[in-house]
Symmetry: C2
Subunit: 249 residues, 2 copies
Amino acid sequence: MSSALLGKAELRQRLQETGEALYHHKHPFHLRMHAGELTRGQMQAWALNRFYYQSVIPIKDAIILSKSGDPAFRRSWRKRIVDHDGDGNQPNSPGGIEKWIQLAEATGLSRDLVLRGKAILPGVRYAVDSYIDLVTRGTLLEAVSSSLTELFSGNLIALRMDALRKYYPWLVPGLAYFQGRLTQAPEDAAFAFNYAFEHATTPELQEVVVACLRKKCALLWAQLDALYYSYVEPGHIPPQPGIFQPEVA
Amino acid sequence: MSSALLGKAELRQRLQETGEALYHHKHPFHLRMHAGELTRGQMQAWALNRFYYQSVIPIKDAIILSKSGDPAFRRSWRKRIVDHDGDGNQPNSPGGIEKWIQLAEATGLSRDLVLRGKAILPGVRYAVDSYIDLVTRGTLLEAVSSSLTELFSGNLIALRMDALRKYYPWLVPGLAYFQGRLTQAPEDAAFAFNYAFEHATTPELQEVVVACLRKKCALLWAQLDALYYSYVEPGHIPPQPGIFQPEVA
């Protein structure tokens, strides 16, 4: 625990160290993905389950927006909802959710299976729902801070796109989501970081910012734990009816 | 989906089949436990993580109690809170939570580590919190139905006590929790089942009862998924600071 108020560069450094240690770029499931070691069935399980996370992002952002009394903040944060839900001109400028569905379709899954949501792992659902819970119960500063994982997503996405093109070429038609995030994520991260720096005006509040980043890292990590346990190890898919069963090796 | 209203024996049969398929008595972690294949460190991880579930049971039951306008229902349900929190005469008649701490101590864990709660797996926390969410958002019928896993816990506990005595004799001083549940669980299950049968007065409501049992089974199962992934497979403990690291083989 630091006891002095950190300057901007110092706070960024604290967050950077936290992300280096806890962000899911080092998760065994991602390491396998980036080494080309996942089967198509495992990539399907990933795309399908991760869709649940994608599908609640605008809900999460609307909760954050609802916590602010400042129209300027709300106008800025609204961008995220537009990015994910799209501008209504779907075929020409699909939002992030639509692009993720296209990624899932590129793995060979049907849009219907993805949208129904019945097939996702309970463990993934609980982790994602904990994100909604975190922003619902938290202060605006806590909710904004939980989005600071975007500081690290740019590097992960760049690395991932290279790996996907190399090892999973059948996914290439579905990469628009990541292409979009390459520019969106840094903008979002810069806004959230500036907000956190300006509003965490005591050492204690700066610790809260770091703790929220840690919590967010944990819930991203836990989603991949559930995926790895169920789809990398044989015989571990939960017995709940309807859970996704890969057909392809 | 059945379309006719089930009689009492038929509803019990539906629930029995659901439990047979989905209750966590068949989880690979339990199969290993009951075959004597878990290390002491793995048993510690189980006792520690499962404590988080135990610790929220009276909170869950208080939420259920708060949903009823019927003093007779509340008096009956109150028994569960007393069973878990104890009557205040701790040394002579400890409640279920205190008994679980004694079980954890019998594995070699310190009471302090157990009570602090920092060391539990995020995946276990999310699954348990989803139970609180289920009873908070659900109707009284849904909340009561989610407790119907107690229909199956008697058999599991009897089997487990035999296995624990045989393979993990150092746990024997900590078995009072299970001893108590052997009589409490059947009483609780009978009350909940009768309540569900009487209040699920349409085929649709009977399906809701079964669905809530399924949801509860899923969240029990997911806790063991997280334990198995992190503590049976090497190298899979999440990087979050403070997570329990077994010292003993």
